[in-house]
């Protein structure tokens, strides 16, 4: 609280705040309606995930890794299986690669549509939210059809995928994509025309390209600052080395560009999907693998809907990992948020925060769980109260 003039005061955002869909704390120092400084405090949804991996088998880890984040479930799982498969040194069937690509792109469409809705909500335009989420249902239904679950798809297994695509599914995905293409084109044409939205987005939350690089921003946030970086192109995995697509960039460096990048990426994803469905090779969808994983280490990266997702795996030759490190895209974007918000208005905080499409549980990714007794220890209400009294007293 030092170095602050009398005119400034602190506005807390979170852990509970309507603009944040998940608990995280931001302390903004403001002068009138202007933001002077921001302090980020994470960990409210820290679940000890990285520690938990060390106590679980590779098969169990498959589902734990999905639960890092409900929206990027496929991206995290893909990253995980890529890691494990690289250590086992196995070539998985090409059909499985294509199916993974298809599911990953479906997930991207779902995530971006969700985000367009949230962006509308953050600036008070709930109508856009309702429409975008209605259209997102199409993807969720396709997800349920192809994988069995709407979110947390559990579609991968070590050595391939778990469910095959039937011709009926393919035709339904095609139908769904046709509808979504129409809708996305509608949003693409409509959003720049809506002047109230653009007034809140153009020139807001500016992240200059050089700052974006220095602060290690990733994903659509980086691409909206005009930097062409996409893991799918730079470090291709699954079937991305064969599928043609453009890396979308915009030069506006502001919230509006981030909206447009995402809307355009939906169209690119639809393109990738159509290509992958067309060129889907025949063959098996998985190979059977032994349970153990040889000792070694590997790093794998996946372009999650929110940006680059990097996982590090160190194996010691047993059926449990020695160390599993996850860095989800949102954590990489927090430093950039600080740069975007300083000098802006309080009213702009929600949309700027939302513009990186933050996922708090991704960031924290870690209840301590006693694996042996399968019991997670949680604090009872009384204990929590005592705990809070204790800290307040200090």
């Amino acid at each position: 609280m030092k170095n602050l003039s009398e005119n400034t005061f602190s506005v807390p955002f979170g852990p509970q705040h309507p603009a944040l869909k998940e608990p995280e704390n931001f302390m903004f120092t403001v002068d009138g309606e202007r933001v002077v400084d921001v302090k980020i405090r994470l960990g409210y949804v820290h679940r000890g995930g990285e520690k938990a991996f060390e106590a679980r088998t590779y098969t169990q880890g498959l589902y734990l890794v999905e639960r890092i984040c409900g929206i990027c479930a496929m991206a995290h799982q893909l990253c995980y299986v890529n890691n494990v498969e690289a250590l086992i040194d196995v070539e998985i069937p090409r059909r499985a690669d294509y199916i993974r690509t298809i599911i990953a792109e479906l997930e991207r469409i779902h995530s971006h549509l969700l985000w367009v809705g949230v962006a509308g909500h953050e600036v008070g335009w709930d109508t856009l939210f309702m429409y975008a989420w209605r259209d997102r249902e199409v993807v969720l239904d396709l997800m349920e059809l192809t994988t069995g679950n709407r979110v947390l798809h559990a579609s991968n297994t070590i050595g391939g995928v778990r469910r095959d695509l039937t011709s009926e599914m393919i035709s339904r995905i095609r139908k769904g994509m046709k509808l979504l293409k129409e809708r996305t084109n509608y949003y693409k044409a409509m959003i720049p025309k809506e002047r109230t939205l653009m007034k809140r987005a153009v020139g807001v939350g500016v992240l200059k390209p050089q700052d974006a690089v220095a602060l290690c921003a990733v994903g659509p946030t980086l691409r909206a600052s005009g930097i062409k970086r996409d893991v799918r192109r730079d470090d291709p995995y699954s079937a991305y080395d064969e599928t043609p697509f453009d890396v979308i960039t915009y030069d506006g460096c502001d919230v509006a560009s981030r909206v447009l990048v995402r809307v355009d990426e939906i169209l690119e994803s639809i393109k990738i999907l159509n290509y992958a469905l067309e060129h889907l090779p025949s063959g098996p969808i998985a190979v059977r693998l032994p349970r153990g994983v040889p000792a070694g280490e590997n790093v794998s990266m996946v372009e999650a809907p929110r940006g680059e997702d990097i996982h590090y795996l160190k194996s010691n030759g047993t059926d449990k990992p020695e160390r599993y490190k996850v860095r989800a895209p949102t954590l990489a974007n927090w430093p950039a948020v600080g740069a975007m918000i300083k000098g802006g208005y309080i009213a702009d905080i929600p949309i700027v925060l939302a513009a990186i499409d933050p996922c708090m549980s991704c960031t924290d990714r870690m209840t301590f769980t006693e694996v042996n007794s399968a019991k997670s220890w949680q604090w009872s209400r009384d204990e929590l109260r005592r705990y809070s009294l204790k800290w307040r007293g200090k």
Binding site: T127, A154, T157, M190
Partner: protein, 116 residues
């Protein structure tokens, strides 16, 4: 004003939402729902318990005479047990409305018939 046309169109349309408890959506084939164990096929190998990431299955007793318990509250509906089971004794139905008001009702027991 860019969305006015769309809004007017909506007035004539049926709402996209469902009146859930009264109006349910048809579950999609292949959807991962309720876990059902055919206990007569179960040989009590315990593989499903080893692979379950959420500790949602429990064996009561040992070996081929065991009973099985399924905790709905713990299950994450990943379907790993279905895949692991060597005797295909576990299947997943598409039933999705499994919520209940009492905790005890959220544990389903699959007991072996007494005669066998």
């Amino acid at each position: 004003m860019a969305m006015q046309n769309e809004l007017v169109k909506s007035l004539a349309k049926k709402p996209a939402t469902l009146l859930y408890p009264f109006e349910k959506y048809d579950s999609i084939p292949g959807s991962r729902g309720k876990v059902v164990i055919d206990i007569t096929k179960c040989i009590g190998c315990g593989l499903c318990i080893r692979d379950c990431p959420a500790f949602a299955l429990e064996m009561v007793g040992k070996g081929p005479t065991c009973d099985m318990k399924w905790y709905i509250t713990r299950c994450v509906f990943c379907g790993q047990c279905v895949e692991t089971c060597p005797r295909s004794a576990i299947i997943q139905e598409t039933t999705y409305d499994l919520a209940g008001a009492e905790k005890a009702a959220l544990v389903i027991e699959y007991k072996r018939p007494k005669s066998s």
